[in-house]
Amino acid sequence: MSRVLDLTRQSAAGLRLLVALTVLLGLVYPAVLLGVGQLVPGRANGSLITLDGRTTGSSLIGQQFGTDDDPASQLPWFQPRPSAAGTGYDPQSSGASNLGPNNADLVKTIEDRRAAVASREGVEPSAVPADAVTASGSGLDPDISPAYAQLQVARVARERGLPVAQVEQLVEQNTHGRDLGFIGEPSVDVVTLNADLARLGSPQG
């Protein structure tokens, strides 16, 4: 058989096989998993959270709390990390800054952020942890480090007229140690933490 003819014959068999495999691996397999997923609907549907009966997003996906244009609007909330996803925490545009480790613009941005956080919290610039001045890989990081959370406790308590101890307790409740005690890093979920704050009522009201 000529090579070209054989290649055509093999391709034709390949196409038929591909269509059949597409049904098995591309339709049946994910459909079965959709069924299995509904046995754990909360997780399979994105760990959505509700506040006063309305869904306010996912506990896994970070949000903006207040806007950069109106810094005062940010003060009653624990602030998440800087985000490179769209204009910030936009799940339609996930991603990182992708700036290199010696990129001059990135160094400047980090220094500006450090000064801004230090002045917002009224602490020395050297007290600001790394996660507070860097953007995450996804741009949707729901977490901050326990150190960054601790840095924000006094300001949030003051803005909301809450006892510091109560805010500290909420931080504690939303802190996750390393998985199984050794995988990954300790973290504080800003989304669930701020949801708990919101449940206590609006600031000073």
């Binding site: 034709a12 591309g26 160094v107």
Partner: protein, 557 residues
């Protein structure tokens, strides 16, 4: 539980991963050996053969095997291209238009070649049906094609005086049906429990806690995530890949994903040992792969935890591009493993890794991805380097080189030499064109100086070695880069593959050479060390000048 120190937690993470891989490699490797030697056909397999009009008991000579590989891959590219272009008319498109021609061509080739380079952003380009029934199907089949070719090469060693090296169709179907599908189901269920999403939700707008608006899209993610790692594919459902909280919600899920991408490549040496009838040969291959992987992991973890570079120093830690829940150690472990295999998934931004960490990631790919490499491609890549090692050893002692009872003559060495030259040629020529032509350079480079060169080198290393990860600051979405990188993916995948299939045919047709006192033993730690040196020297001689100007210069500056 009292908190562990950072370094104890890091060591324990890597130790647990190694123990898990050690525990799984023997049963999984033995199982795969049985799959490829079984004479039975399952009912679903018979059905697939009947639909395709294939006689599963007809074995192929190497040219036919090669044409089957090419034919299947060719129609896969056309099918996936058409699927993306027609997206607007298909269900579950989420309102997205058909994918633009250059992007669709790049993506079709990228997924068929097991590269899974993404010049698109999943959440704003691909609907659920294209993801699940288009892209994810290629996650299965492209992985299976690599494993089929690896098994064909092993048959070249185990068979004698025959023209036949097996049936590509049977190898392909069995890999999908018996190995990848059941493992994917288990892996997907585990990830579902960890919070990876599996639904059909389109973009849904929510009012956030503070009163803003956020639009979140779900999708059949867990099912795709499982085969993305197991098949060393790496194409993320979302732009942020496994850093996205819906793909990598927790640290243990991310570690589990590292385990998945390493499981099959580290088990195939056992399969190889079983098939050649001497487990020690498997251990020698495993030893080379394991040593290189562990060295890469150690270096990357050290680089990221140390955090050299102006930005990490300014921030007080290399956290740019990293998730808090993963931290430096898990991101480094993931990054070293994804580039040691041909996965290319990421749980943090590689462009923002330290110069040394990013350099190791690049070097992992430049080694030809044999530590342990992609599903199948890692094993055949390493066996090719073992052929070079026996050839060199033969030159040194003046004996005719042999491997597993097969003479390594002029024909075999020619094929192997071409294999070793193919990828570096694509990588260096491709990178040189972009780095050397000002208009191309300005269109795609984000950073200046050494890091800019790293971005180009990384892109062409990734495409030519079918990895798919990126220094994502590199602007790859131009028409030129879409086409040029796709060409590197095609030739980087199929030229080595065809040479391997031809080598399988030559070896299978030989009569076996009896083992004598003069035969170099190829299952010893000494031989494994020799192969390791060959891997490093071949890549080192090829790439050192380029590496010296890019990551090494940046790390030392």
């Amino acid at each position: 539980m009292s908190a562990l120190s950072d370094s104890a937690a890091g060591f324990l993470t890597i130790a647990v991963l190694v123990v898990a891989l050690a525990a799984v490699h023997a049963p999984l490797g033995d199982f795969m050996a049985r799959v490829y030697t079984s004479t039975r056909h399952l009912r679903v397999e018979r059905f697939l053969y009947r639909v395709a009009g294939i006689d599963p008991d007809a074995e192929q000579r190497w040219p036919v095997y090669a044409r089957a590989v090419l034919g299947f891959s060719f129609v896969s590219v056309l099918f996936l291209y058409a699927f993306q272009r027609l997206q607007a008319w298909l269900p579950l498109s989420l309102g997205f238009a058909g994918v633009a021609p250059a992007t669709a061509w790049n993506t079709a080739i990228s997924f068929v070649t097991n590269t899974n380079w993404q010049s698109y952003s999943g959440e704003s380009t691909m609907g659920h049906l294209v993801q699940a029934a288009g892209l994810a199907v290629q996650n299965f089949t492209s992985a299976a094609v690599g494993m089929a070719v690896a098994v064909a090469l092993v048959r070249g060693f185990t068979r004698s005086r025959t023209e036949r090296i097996g049936s590509f169709w049977v190898d392909l179907v069995r890999t999908c049906v018996r190995i990848l599908l059941p493992l994917s189901v288990v892996a997907a269920v585990v990830m579902l429990l960890g919070g990876v999403v599996q639904n059909l939700a389109g973009p849904t707008a929510y009012t956030t806690i503070a009163g803003g608006t956020q639009t979140i899209t779900g999708g059949p993610i867990a099912s795709q995530e499982a085969i993305k790692e197991l098949g060393t594919n790496g194409g993320g459902f979302f732009n942020a890949n496994s850093a996205h909280p819906f793909e990598g919600p927790t640290a243990w899920v991310s570690l589990f994903q590292v385990f998945l991408m390493l499981a099959i490549p580290f088990s195939l040496p056992r399969t190889f040992g079983r098939l050649v009838g001497d487990k020690r040969h498997g251990y020698a291959v495993l030893g080379v792969m394991g040593a290189l992987w562990l060295a890469a992991v150690s270096l990357t973890v050290w680089a990221e935890v140390t955090g050299a570079g102006a930005a990490p120093q300014a921030a007080g830690g290399a956290m740019e591009g990293k998730e808090v829940r993963f931290g430096e150690v898990l991101t480094a472990l993931f990054g070293a493993s994804t580039t040691s295999t041909s996965t290319g998934a990421i749980n943090g931004a590689h462009d923002s890794l330290t110069a040394a960490g990013g350099g190791v990631a690049m070097l992992n790919m430049m080694l030809g991805e044999v530590s342990p490499g992609g599903t199948g491609s890692g094993l055949y890549g390493l066996l090719v380097l073992a052929v070079i090692a026996v050839f060199l050893a033969g030159l040194m002692v003046g004996r005719t080189p042999e491997l597993l009872g097969k003479k390594i003559g002029k024909g075999e060495v020619t094929l192997v030499a071409l294999y070793v030259l193919a990828t570096p040629t694509l990588l260096l020529v491709g990178a040189a064109l972009t780095a050397g032509i000002p208009s191309l350079r300005d269109a795609s480079l984000q950073d200046d100086g050494a890091h800019g060169l790293s971005e180009v080198l990384y892109a062409y290393a990734s495409a030519s070695n079918n990895n798919g990860s990126a220094f994502a600051g590199f602007g790859a979405a131009t028409d030129y880069q879409n086409v040029a990188l796709a060409l590197c993916m095609v030739f980087g995948r199929f030229v080595p593959m065809l040479l391997v299939i031809a080598l399988a045919g030559r070896l299978a047709s030989q009569a076996p050479v009896p083992v004598t006192a003069g035969t170099l033993p190829t299952h010893t730690p000494l031989f494994a060390s020799l192969v390791t040196v060959v891997v490093i020297v071949v890549a080192g001689l090829t790439y050192f000048p380029a590496l010296a100007l890019a990551p090494i210069a940046e790390a030392l500056s």
